[in-house]
């Protein structure tokens, strides 16, 4: 997908630039883009180092576990099919807490462990369970508290107020997380998305 989009950007740029006359500016655009990338990434180093340093302290201090415990009561309601003391619940909680702190490297292994544990509760191994779908919808809606990379890029681009987007981001991401839970819960009831059991398939024939 991204391959096609990238290809199209370049092909269209060369064709349209060639036809409308100013092909020299296309070269300039490529060079400026390349230079800006390095400027931004180098400018990003400071804040990313600062933030990930702090987040490593948060990890060692057990803040991931703390957040996980905080949201546990809510999670029990969102995942009624998962026994509260099952390892799947623990892994999902830890994954979300790590995501909330922006610890991508720590979050992914925890998320994969959560899927493995959810799979042990799954009766039909090749089909997603309701809990899996809800978990992934929440996960992809992004529960980050501080969007560190975005702030870093804003600092690199000389923003007068790099952090002014934290509040708007928290509101927007809360909306998407709520929408994730609601839509997963509603869609799981639809006939088109039900689990294909032998009984279901027989009734159909």
């Amino acid at each position: 997908m991204i391959n096609v989009i990238w290809l199209l950007l370049i092909v269209l740029a060369v064709v349209i630039g060639g036809v409308t006359g100013d092909i020299g500016k296309v070269t300039e655009g490529a060079m400026n883009g390349a230079r800006t990338s390095v400027d931004l990434a180098l400018g990003l180093i400071g804040f990313m180092a600062l933030w990930l340093g702090l987040m490593r302290v948060a990890e060692e201090a057990g803040l991931v576990q703390f957040i996980a415990r905080l949201v546990k009561p809510v999670m029990r309601r969102i995942f009624p099919d998962v026994p509260p003391e099952h390892p799947a619940m623990g892994a999902m909680l830890m994954n979300m807490a790590a995501n909330a702190l922006g610890l991508g490297n720590a979050a992914t292994p925890l998320g994969l462990k959560a899927m493995k544990e959810l799979q042990t509760l799954n009766e039909y191994k090749d089909q997603a369970t309701n809990a899996m779908a809800t978990f992934l919808a929440i996960n992809t809606s992004d529960v980050t508290i501080i969007p560190a990379t975005v702030i870093g890029i804003r600092i690199a681009a000389d923003s007068a107020a790099p952090t002014e987007i934290i509040g708007t981001t928290i509101i927007a991401t809360s909306c998407s997380t709520i929408a994730a839970i609601v839509s997963a819960k509603l869609l799981q009831r639809l006939k088109a998305f039900r689990v294909e059991t032998e009984k279901n398939v027989q009734n159909e024939n």
Binding site: T20, G33, A41, L54, V57, A179, S183
Partner: protein, 178 residues
């Protein structure tokens, strides 16, 4: 306006509060705060360097696209539709890219911030959109792939509804606050 003040207060206080909470909790829990911090900071350095190839790929291609005049054509083409809602046409490609590719949308966000300025409405909207959802298709493929699930049922529709809500919410909140 009260809503606006709340958002601004959150934005101003978030980082100092997190710093305070983390460092104090760390100290109480007997973490060697300084040494652990430095160790973690190395990772931040690596991440910033690692994204350079992705940024170069996107910013160079979009730079060519913009300078050729193709971007203006695209904006003219979609602005009658986005204009109905007051949405800036320039930010639409990034909104579409967001669920498809993390590095792609980060590149597009960086390009928008660099071209229009981080403190412009488009710059703020792009920043908010970036943090409001995740790279849906990558995560779904990775997580389901890891347990060999073939039938994803309602996962992708639910994720995409959440993405759409997040992107629309980003626009609405930014319009209200900025």
């Amino acid at each position: 306006m009260v809503f606006r003040e709340i958002i601004e207060t959150i934005s101003v206080w978030a980082i100092p509060v997190v710093f305070f909470a983390v460092v104090v909790t760390g100290y109480i829990r007997k973490v060697k705060v300084y040494e652990v911090f430095v160790d973690g900071a190395k990772e931040g350095f690596e991440i910033a360097i690692k994204i350079i190839p992705f940024l170069v790929a996107i910013l160079a291609a979009v730079g060519m696209f913009r300078e050729s005049g193709a971007m203006d054509m695209l904006v003219r083409l979609i602005s009658p539709v986005t204009g109905l809602f007051g949405y800036p046409a320039e930010a639409l490609p990034m909104a579409i890219m967001r669920p498809l590719s993390g590095s792609g949308s980060l590149g597009l966000m960086s390009e928008l911030i660099n071209t229009h300025g981080p403190d412009s409405f488009i710059g703020r909207l792009a920043s908010t959109m970036m943090g409001s959802t995740e790279t849906t298709f990558y995560i779904v493929a990775l997580y389901f792939g890891s347990v060999s699930i073939r039938k994803q049922r309602h996962t992708v529709p639910a994720c995409l509804i959440a993405d759409a809500v997040g992107l629309i919410a980003a626009f609405v909140v930014c319009s209200m606050v900025f």
